[in-house]
Symmetry: C2
Subunit: 272 residues, 2 copies
């Protein structure tokens, strides 16, 4: 393990830039995973990272030691920082000081969308984006396409809210969603509070692509028109709308419910 103790160290400066600048993260194609849970999930799903950063106190923490040993055995570059320097690159308060530097995965864009997917049009809030990724991964969705105006999926806030979902999904950013929809061989469902059709009345037993929009303005009109269905979640009471991440969870798990009900039916059929 290599100690760094000066704020003038070029590697430290690079880390600080990655920690604080979304532009620097996009340019470098790299980001920081902050905290034991995210680092564990990365090791479990994607293997060893290019670099591991640990605070002095965390380097002897019982939850961190086995992860550090795994990194060192795999010849990962490991850096130890004094607490003050670690805090300057970490956004987690009161956490255990462990961080991975990782390359944001480069995903090949499929020519035709044939699997289940989420399309995000101009979604703003990092917490909402992270929650949607987490729900999508839990519902077994494969692809996430983000429009150019959508929050950066690999920012520390979105990674924290995603709780490791990033490593289970194929996330494609800066995408022309209209082109994805035109080239999709699956049904595309746009949620809109003005829609007449209820999400419960659509057959979701086959893969579909879900389209969600901006927190205030919803899905852009030109994308709404391209979608196969415009669907609403029925509301009781006088609330106008749901939070977009809550809306996405309802849609994804209505699909899970229908798929499980469908497979239960075919099992009964086979047995009967």
């Amino acid at each position: 393990m290599k100690p760094i103790s000066s704020r003038d160290n070029p590697l430290f400066k690079e880390l600080k830039l990655l920690a604080t600048s979304s532009q620097a993260r996009r340019k470098a194609g790299r980001t920081l995973l902050d905290g034991v849970h995210l680092c564990e999930a990365y090791l479990q799903h994607l293997g060893l990272p290019p670099m591991c950063i640990v605070s002095e106190s965390a380097s002897v923490h019982p939850e961190v030691v086995p992860l550090l040993m795994q990194c060192e055995a795999g010849r990962v570059q490991c850096i130890v920082l004094p607490e003050a320097l670690y805090q300057a690159v970490s956004q987690v308060e009161h956490g255990i000081g462990l961080m991975f530097v990782i390359d944001t995965p480069a995903i090949e864009v499929p020519a035709t969308l044939t699997g289940s997917a989420v399309l995000l049009d101009n979604l703003q809030d990092p917490g909402n984006l992270g929650s949607i990724l987490r729900s999508a991964a839990a519902a077994g969705i494969e692809y996430v396409f983000c429009s150019p105006g959508t929050a950066f999926a690999w920012s520390p806030k979105v990674l924290r809210a995603g709780m490791g979902a990033h490593f289970l999904l194929k996330i494609i950013e800066n995408t022309d969603l209209a082109a994805v929809i035109r080239n999709a061989s699956v049904t595309v469902l746009a949620t809109s509070s003005y829609a007449q059709e209820r999400v419960y009345d659509v057959d979701l037993t086959q893969p579909v692509a879900w389209l969600f929009g901006h927190e205030g303005q919803g899905v852009a009109d030109e994308l709404l028109e391209l979608a196969t269905h415009r669907v609403a979640i029925p509301h009781l009471g006088a609330m106008e709308s749901l939070n977009v991440a809550a809306c996405a969870a309802v849609c994804f798990f209505e699909q899970v419910r229908q798929r499980e009900a469908g497979s239960a039916k075919s099992q009964r059929h086979l047995l009967g």
Copy 2:
């Protein structure tokens, strides 16, 4: 309208305290509604507030003028602040400068819980709490009970995320949830990722109480044991769990789906 231009004005000091101190809000039994949307929702559902605060520039804004006129016609105390002073009490960036001071509603605790409800055990995140309130109101749920460790429901962050849900629900804070469960005549469903029973397999056509817990630790064991059912949302893929607000939305709208399907069935029955 009364202008205030000094930071030493006692009323301004009181507003600043309400804006920045959760303890002050609890003690005064008052809070601030920040932004046109929340103020409109308050007027619509609960009527006139005790006090209205507007920034100089907002006092002539076309969205604000009709609300101000409604307040002045109802003899509500209206205060105008210069931009710098307004910004010192507002947490909304780039918003239109309108705020209501309101009394947090005092809700009578029912001796026996007979209606649909949400019980929140030690829920930490204001964004999650606001999203749960919004989903609950949209699903037609009546009561929300919060344990002493749960985030303060009437804080500006929770109010913003709630988007007016606060005015449609009966929110009771600092509650002994064990006592509420013991005195409930409705089914109490606790969500737990370890549960065997699926939420889809429970009859939700009657009112139920939903119990959700801390973001990391879930529902406390002693409350889990008191619940009528422990239920899980089935997951596909390798994600451990959902965000608690996403989980709540899935549960609430599974209930809406079952109730609508139930009433459709009885309608068919009546027609047939």
